[in-house]
């Protein structure tokens, strides 16, 4: 990266991670590794039915079983809950939100908890759970979104009288021209399957009661701060009586961005028993008890003039909520609602989302959350429109790219910066399309496996988010974040962040930012996070927000600290603060290079407080809360190459080239890692992963044997490049990067499959493009 080579200092350098030392040697602090003396193991008894009433429950034998401490049904714990499990995003005033408590006596999805067992060990608890006899009355269930909206479909919540949760619309009518009057109108309908996040660490919870009515909750959570607010409310605790700790957390991808039944159960039961209570999810349990992503049907339309100028986009989305609304379930489709025009200048904009209850595990945030769903239908339909127009697919994209920034888009938001043409140009420098087409033609002539290339030019909005906008779209909290920088007497720096990493390397990257600004050795900077007793407020980590919000808060806190230090130095050297320059950790008087003060000496002086300006507080510490003025707008261009065996439908990804523009890069090694992982989850959605239910709401892909999480053997190495359009909305110029790969990759791969088969007349294949689906598509095109 030429842009990074020019810089000095830590920002832009591939600084190796300080997180690795413990993780590489087996000293991670994952929740399941904790076992305080006296801990009771908790096991949840779950409904095997997608919809059933508990007629009776016999817990007698379980209570008598060896090692059992207590057993509770839903009814017995009802008074422990001061509020239902929270949904923080009522997207419309009329939205229907059925109450959901940690245990239920009417199960609404397979896996809904009906009882809980506590025992001296997990083995005892599991044995006892087997002895609980639940007499269920099965009720009619519905699993698919389209079926759920049909007249006469079983109702997930009969008291609501409908499976429709909400309808949300955003329309602009910029030109007054009707979409159907356009020269060319292309409408396609896409099903995007349910995805099961599968963080490799299953969830785990440990609730430890204190001595004064206080509780500590250790949880595999992305959101310790949000969890504290809502768990305290759910249990009727003062927030000050609840400490939440997110220790090392083994991946999240959105699935640990929630307030879960087991977190509240462990707290309530630890309070009742006055003993620590621990629950560790099993993987197969994770498949039903942890949120899923996606599961939506989208009808998407693009309209254009004959010369390929796109005039309209329209999306009609039916999105599965699952059986209940978890923390941000109804808002997930909306996170894509403003980008259904992608990186293209499309004046007329119309989207409509219908949230639909089904008897399935609730959906919620999964990597990309709303934006992969948008990008998939846009990029698929761009190819279809190009075919309809008889136009080159990339030429159609180039013609319609937004080219000037800042750009106010059809949905009403403003994109701060970008250069979509530059990303595509760079992609085509790396990817020799002419050579590929020649090889593709040769393969077609020779028979045997076919080659195809697919493109995805994308943008996305992340960095959640400006608080006023969140308020305007009815999200319950703000989108700011906070940072404290505390200079210790020796010049060491303590950084306290409101973000909560679970693989994103904040300890390393945050130290880079602060060490550069204060001009100190990176090893002098420690980064503290993920514990509400250390970092009492924060908005945590999701939506590619940590760097463009929490990282920018660091910048502002450091600036405050430097400003105070400058006042101290000015006082001590008897010069004007304006005459001081600060660089590389040293203040110098302009024009008098011999008059200097190191930042470390100022930190000591501020601590000793012997010689501070009149009225100045001792110490050198500052907190900044940063509320971003805009979302973060990454973009880029990706190309996928697949090899398809037309005899079997077997499809393999053989090459992947990604050019991403994520603004200024703090640590290229970490950014590349985020892109690798993100791309992989998008590829995997395109080729391998599908959470499938039968008509009765039984999860058919209920473990790692039946749901294909790819291994190294299914994937190639990736080729990454960057372009760099710094964000003008923050002083670091940074944008989010955690989700870009997932947002861009799936349509590139499916477009590649269709490109490979285009000469056979294949026009569509549903994700995931399994050998069977691809083979059937080929056979259907033949007939």
């Amino acid at each position: 990266m030429s842009a990074t080579e020019e810089r000095t200092g830590y920002i832009g350098a591939p600084v190796k991670r300080r997180e690795d030392a413990s993780l590489l040697t087996g000293r991670g602090t994952y929740v399941d590794n904790m076992a305080p003396a006296g801990t009771v193991a908790m096991v949840v008894v779950r409904s095997p039915y997608a919809h059933a009433r508990v007629k009776s429950i016999d817990m007698g034998a379980a209570k008598q079983a060896e090692g059992v401490v207590a057993v509770f049904s839903a009814a017995e714990l009802r008074d422990d809950w001061k509020a239902p499990l929270p949904c923080a995003w009522p997207v419309t005033e009329e939205m229907k939100s059925p109450d959901h408590y940690p245990l239920t006596d009417v199960a609404c999805y397979q896996g809904d908890g009906v009882a809980v067992v506590l025992a001296e060990s997990r083995a005892h608890a599991r044995d006892a759970a087997e002895l609980i006899e639940v007499d269920y009355e099965p009720l009619d269930a519905v699993a698919g979104v389209e079926r759920a909206l049909e007249d006469g479909a079983p109702l997930v919540h009969p008291d609501l009288g409908t499976n429709e949760c909400y309808v949300w619309r955003l329309d602009t009518d910029a030109t007054g021209q009707a979409i159907d009057d356009a020269d060319v109108v292309v409408t396609r309908t896409y099903y995007q399957p349910r995805l099961i996040p599968n963080a490799i660490e299953p969830r785990a919870v440990l609730a430890v009661p204190g001595t004064t009515g206080d509780m500590t909750l250790y949880s595999t959570t992305q959101v310790p701060h949000i969890l504290r607010v809502l768990a305290a409310a759910g249990l009727g605790l003062h927030e000050t009586k609840l400490r939440v700790v997110a220790p090392d957390v083994g991946g999240g991808f959105g699935s640990k961005l929630d307030v879960y039944a087991e977190e509240l159960l462990a707290l309530a039961l630890a309070r009742r028993l006055e003993r620590p209570v621990k629950w560790t999810e099993e993987r197969s349990e994770n498949y039903v008890a942890t949120i899923h992503g996606r599961d939506l049907v989208t009808e998407y339309t693009l309209a254009a003039t004959k010369d390929g100028t796109i005039t309209h986009c329209r999306a009609r989305v039916k999105a599965a909520m699952g059986a209940y609304l978890q923390l941000v379930t109804p808002g997930i489709p909306l996170l894509g609602a403003w980008i259904y025009a992608g990186p293209y200048a499309i004046p007329n904009y119309s989207v409509e989302f219908t949230g639909v209850f089904t008897n399935t595990t609730p959906t919620d945030a999964y990597r990309g959350a709303g934006r992969p769903e948008a990008t998939y239908v846009i990029e698929r339909t761009m190819d279809a429109l190009a075919n309809e127009l008889g136009m080159d697919k990339l030429e159609l994209r180039r013609k319609n790219f937004i080219k000037e920034f800042p750009a106010t888009i059809g949905s009403g938001l403003t994109i701060d910066s970008g250069d979509y043409l530059a990303s595509l140009d760079k992609l085509l420098q790396v990817f020799d399309l002419d050579a590929f087409r020649a090889e593709q033609a040769k393969r077609r002539d020779n028979g045997g496996t076919l080659l195809g290339v697919g493109f995805s030019t994308y943008n996305e909005m992340c960095g959640l988010a400006p608080s006023r906008i969140l308020g305007a779209i009815r999200y319950a909290a703000g989108g700011w974040d906070t940072a404290t920088i505390r200079c210790l007497p020796t010049g060491s720096i303590q950084v306290i962040t409101g973000t909560s990493p679970h693989g994103q390397s904040h300890e390393t990257a945050w130290a880079q930012i602060v060490a550069d600004q204060l001009g100190c050795d990176i090893d002098a900077v420690e980064v503290l996070h993920g514990d509400t007793s250390i970092s009492s407020i924060g908005m945590d980590t999701y939506g590619s927000r940590s760097l463009p919000v929490g990282g920018v808060a660091l910048y502002h806190a450091a600036a405050k600290v430097i400003d105070k230090a400058r006042q101290i130095v000015a006082h001590q050297l008897e010069v004007s603060a304006d005459d001081l320059e600060f660089a590389d950790g040293t203040f110098t008087v302009k024009g008098s290079p011999d008059k200097t003060a190191t930042f470390a000496s100022v930190a000591f002086g501020a601590w000793a407080a012997h010689d501070l300006p009149d009225g100045m507080e001792p110490g050198l510490e500052a907190t900044a809360v940063y509320d971003p003025p805009n979302f973060s707008w990454p973009g880029g261009a990706h190309a996928a190459v697949v090899e398809v065996d037309p005899e079997t439908g077997d499809t393999r990804l053989v090459r992947y080239v990604a050019v991403d523009d994520v603004g200024t890069v703090v640590n290229p090694m970490i950014v590349d890692g985020q892109v690798h992982g993100g791309i992989t989850q998008g590829i995997s959605a395109a080729l391998y992963e599908e959470g499938a239910y039968d008509e009765d709401g039984n999860l058919l892909t209920a473990n790692l044997l039946t749901y294909l999480v790819p291994s190294a053997a299914e994937l190639p190495s990736f080729e990454l490049e960057r372009t760099e359009s710094p964000s003008p909305t923050n002083p670091l110029g940074v944008k989010g990067v955690g989700e870009t790969g997932t947002i861009a990759a799936a349509p590139a791969v499916i477009n590649a499959v269709l490109d490979a088969l285009s000469h056979l007349g294949v026009k569509d294949v549903q994700m995931p493009a399994t050998p069977e689906r691809v083979w059937r598509a080929i056979e259907e095109a033949k007939s």
Partner: protein, 157 residues
């Protein structure tokens, strides 16, 4: 209860085990060696991979009583005298871990692959690690790290 004697990371342990206890439970719960993680219940993810008499094995697929008399190496026993094993070092240098949960198993699977002389190409490494799932890295940097480590250990070809 059955008496089992085993050596873990060079230390001898005499244990009374229930026949149903899995090796991973013995390591984590009895010996408090929590570096070996549990990521699934179908022997699919490989997070619990350890070395049993030098061979990589998913410790959820073995009963404690099956490894009576064995020598076991877990992630805690891989570094020597404070120096990272070449595979650990390569994982650090190549950013081959993010959340770190799959890492102990991935590292030990890689050690076994390299020591068996099977880490001779990118394709061989990819196939050799197919029993270990990672959800963060997309494997790109893991494969690169294993190639580096194999070279450092003189086993790249």
């Amino acid at each position: 209860m059955r008496h089992v004697g085993l050596t873990v990371n060079g230390m001898r342990h005499e244990l009374e085990l229930e026949p149903r206890e899995l090796l991973v439970q013995v390591l984590r719960d009895r010996l408090r060696l929590t570096g070996t993680n549990v990521g699934c219940d179908t022997s699919s993810c490989g997070a619990c991979t350890v070395l049993v008499d030098g061979e990589s094995a998913k410790s959820c697929t073995l009963l404690g009583v099956q490894v009576d008399g064995s020598e076991i190496t877990t992630i805690e026993g891989l570094a020597t005298n404070g120096a990272l094993h070449p595979v650990q070092q390569a994982f650090h240098d190549r950013h081959a871990l993010q959340c770190g949960f799959c890492t102990p198993g991935m590292v030990l699977a890689a050690v076994s692959l390299i020591e068996h002389g099977e880490a001779t190409s990118e394709a061989a490494i990819r196939v050799g690690l197919e029993g270990n799932l990672c959800r963060c890295t997309g494997y790109h940097n893991i494969v690169a790290a294993v190639q580096d480590a194999a070279a450092a250990m003189g086993r790249a070809s």
